[in-house]
């Protein structure tokens, strides 16, 4: 009986499963070998940099590395009681070293992020720290009365955390205090949550406009004979061959107050010479320019799906007594949903990350979260905060995929 329940054996007595694995190993190894260069390439230039960068959103060892003694001295401090003399000793020693090592600027920048105005406090104090005499707390306060301020020490405490939720909190308009609690940012400094919502709103609207404009075009292309549809396809792809900047600038020429569209509106009496429409440097401009730029990403998946929908379905529906509209809506449209899903997801995700267009034509209410990320990348150099916002975007996009999979099914998506 044991034989009957035991594993199946091959002719030479080895278990069949092992035999099968052996026989498949070579072909698997070859397949893996073929994919290896691309895999390595992706890991080196894509996965690793992204993970490395996203790591910055929660990891910041700058203060802890450059001010090791202060970090250690503050480790047990509760963040609310009076700073101790030991902390002052450690700080002065660290300042002397960092002045010598020329790392004081990095330290000052880091603490300044937690408390504005402390940069000059640090650089100034470091310059004369070598001449301080014990007791150091008094010497510090003598140099600048800000050292008597509890806030200054709290800022250092916050900055000394190596793994910190502070950046993610900041990306969500929250602030981490010295005792580790997280509170909401003051009213006039809340910006990111609002921008996340606006980014989503703009992306959603752009997706909807792309769908409304792209669907009929894709339908036309799918129902025309090959030659004509190829010509249309080239026209659809034409914008891809022009630089993004050129296209965006062209929209500026079209939409600005003295631009082509407004001139036409004036000619047709829709606007007056003194009261022209504001079509650009606001949300309207962002929506128009982004819809134009993302339209092909909607049309192409739609077209590739519609091409495969046989016209006989609609004929069948009509032969059964359905009107043109019913046969479209009940029979054709549901079959084009995978294309809509793919196109909408593509447009939406691309729109979420757009920044050149909103930067150029967005004005103040057409800005998106990516513009703030860009700002922190290029201007403020607060890469940790930029990484935290990137992390939030990534999590959100993954969530979208998950949602899409739950509702529509990911295999129900056709990109081409």
């Amino acid at each position: 009986m044991t034989d009957a329940t035991g594993p199946l054996l091959a002719v030479d007595g080895t278990p069949l499963k092992r035999k099968l694995a052996q026989s498949l190993f070579r072909s698997r190894a070859r397949a893996f070998g073929l994919a290896l260069p691309l895999l390595a390439f992706i890991i080196v230039v894509f996965v690793y940099p992204i993970l490395d960068f996203l790591g910055r959103s929660v990891y910041d060892a700058r203060f802890a590395t450059l001010m090791p003694m202060t970090t250690e001295a503050m480790a047990d401090w509760d963040g609310t009681s009076q700073p101790t003399e030991a902390m002052a000793d450690a700080l002065v020693l660290d300042l002397v070293v960092s002045k010598k090592e020329k790392t004081i600027g990095k330290v000052a920048t880091r603490v300044n992020r937690e408390l504005s105005g402390t940069r000059s406090l640090f650089t100034k104090t470091a310059r004369s720290a070598a001449k301080f005499e014990s007791p150091f707390m008094a010497a510090l306060i003598e140099k600048d009365k800000d050292w008597a301020d509890l806030e200054t020490w709290q800022a250092m405490k916050t900055a000394s955390r190596v793994f910190t939720p502070a950046y993610v909190a900041a990306a969500l308009d929250r602030k981490m205090l010295a005792d580790g609690s997280i509170v909401q940012q003051s009213e006039e400094r809340r910006i990111h949550v609002k921008l996340f919502w606006r980014t989503m709103e703009i992306s959603f609207l752009v997706t909807v406009f792309c769908l409304i404009l792209g669907y009929p075009i894709a339908y036309l292309m799918a129902s025309l004979p090959m030659r004509t549809s190829n010509l249309l396809l080239i026209l659809v792809l034409l914008p891809f061959w022009t630089s993004l900047l050129v296209r965006t600038t062209a929209w500026i020429a079209m939409l600005q107050a003295q631009g082509v569209m407004n001139d036409l509106f004036v000619v047709f009496g829709l606007a007056t010479e003194d009261d022209r429409f504001s079509l650009i440097y606001n949300k309207t401009g962002t929506l128009i320019a982004m819809t134009h730029i993302l339209l092909p990403f909607m049309i192409l998946p739609l077209f590739s799906v519609m091409k495969t929908i046989s016209p006989t379905y609609v004929r069948a529906a009509k032969s059964m007594g359905a009107t043109d509209w019913t046969s479209f809506w009940r029979v054709y449209f549901p079959q084009s949903v995978p294309g809509i899903g793919a196109g909408a997801l593509l447009c939406f995700i691309l729109a979420l990350g757009y920044y050149i267009t909103p930067a150029l034509v967005g004005g103040q209410d057409g800005q998106m979260i990516s513009n703030i990320i860009d700002f922190h990348m290029r201007k403020s150099l607060n890469w940790n905060l930029a990484a935290a916002m990137g992390l939030i975007m990534l999590v959100f996009v993954l969530f979208l995929f998950w949602l899409y999979d739950r509702i529509v099914g990911i295999d129900n998506m056709k990109l081409g």
Binding site: S310, T312, Y313, R315, A316, A317, K318, S319, M320, G321, A322, T323, D324, T326, S327, R330, V331, P334, Q335, V337
Partner: protein, 365 residues
């Protein structure tokens, strides 16, 4: 004939169709189909048969002429108001709907209430013996099952006329033969009129009351299957329907309904004149392989015989198929039944063959 026209349910009157304004795909078509008739349009691809069907369904418009349904012109009626059931080549079952929803669709658009719909759907499914498949998706069905659902869907709203566009083309041979029978059976039971399009002549012969043979936009012959097979009006029909041997020659004389034809090899044979009228005309003589006899005992006296050389003998189970060289034609085929007393011809032997004059038809060259 006049009576048949008066009763015509579907009628094409001088219908022409051109897509590009240069070539006529359908040339001056006249056709009438009686109520309850099973009519098949048969022809090679590009012969205009599918175009005719599409004009009838309303998906193409006639360039000229009139199409009448039950005596009323329907040229300007959109397809969804014609009330014609249709079965498509690849079934065209809606992939996003279940079988039940597919069948329910024509009833919904006709505003039947839910109870009626369910009853009718059930009846239609039972009719094609697919009652258990109500909630399946088309992709979960085999080709034959999909075919039945497509049929049920075309019938569920009880149309009087059903059009079928090569509905069995995607099935394998055995299933196809089974479905051929089921479709004709169902059609006769329900008393519906069927216009059926196919390029498969066996299908056309086994299923139809009448067959219209299309070629080059023109109906070559319209007749019952046996007439079509046994008395083709022209050499196209003879070639297209069933297997056929042809010999070329010239008419010597026509007397008492018999034409004397001199073949290009010089041999003389007697034929039935079909579309030859006077001596001197070129003609193509057509003989069915199974009507050729080489057993001298069975040959009637006085018939012309021809010398033949056996080139190849093929055993096909129920029949033998023998290829001969006759009057310079290397592709002359004869078919004989595999009977106990049947002779199996050996390649290389010389025999004499003959046939009844009425089985040998002198057609157009």
């Amino acid at each position: 004939m006049a009576e048949a026209q008066a009763k015509a349910f579907v009628e094409f009157q001088r219908v022409q169709k051109s897509y590009d304004g240069e070539v006529l795909v359908v040339k001056d078509l006249n056709l009438s189909v009686a109520r309850g008739e099973f009519l098949t349009m048969l022809g090679p691809s590009g012969s205009g048969k599918t175009t005719c069907l599409m004009m009838l369904a309303g998906f193409e418009t006639a360039t000229h002429g009139e199409i009448l349904l039950d005596g009323k012109p329907i040229n300007n009626i959109p397809p969804h108001k014609r009330g014609i059931g249709m079965v498509f080549q690849n079934y065209a079952l809606f992939p996003h709907m279940t079988v039940g929803e597919n069948l329910s669709f024509p009833l919904e658009v006709r505003k039947f209430n839910k109870i009626d719909r369910e009853a009718k759907v059930k009846r239609a499914l039972d009719m094609v013996e697919m009652g258990d498949f109500l909630s399946r998706r088309p992709s979960q069905l085999s080709g034959g099952q999909q075919q039945r659902i497509a049929l049920a869907r075309a019938l569920v709203f009880e149309p009087e006329l059903v059009l079928m566009d090569e509905p069995l083309g995607a099935l394998d041979k055995q299933l196809r033969e089974k479905m051929q029978f089921e479709i004709t059976d169902l059609a006769h039971k329900l008393g519906i009129t069927v216009v059926y399009v196919t390029h498969d002549q066996t299908e056309a012969l086994t299923m139809s009351d009448r067959v219209a043979v299309f070629n080059d936009g023109v109906i070559q012959q319209i007749a019952a299957p046996d007439t079509l097979y046994e008395s083709p009006d022209n050499s196209f029909v003879a070639q297209f329907i069933g297997e056929n041997n042809t010999l070329e020659g010239m008419v010597k004389e026509i007397k008492n309904g018999v034409a004397l034809v001199q073949l290009d090899s010089g041999d003389l044979i007697n034929c039935k004149p079909i579309n030859v009228t006077k001596p001197g005309e070129r003609t193509r003589v057509s003989i069915r392989p199974e009507r050729v006899e080489y057993n001298k005992d069975r040959l009637k006296k006085g018939v012309h015989t021809l010398k033949a050389e056996v080139l190849e003998f093929i055993y096909m189970g129920d029949i033998f198929r023998t290829r001969l060289r006759v009057a310079g034609n290397d592709e002359f085929i004869i078919k004989t039944r595999n009977a106990p007393d049947q002779i199996r011809l050996q390649p290389g032997t010389e025999i004499e063959i003959g046939w009844m004059p009425e089985d040998c038809r002198a057609l157009d060259a």
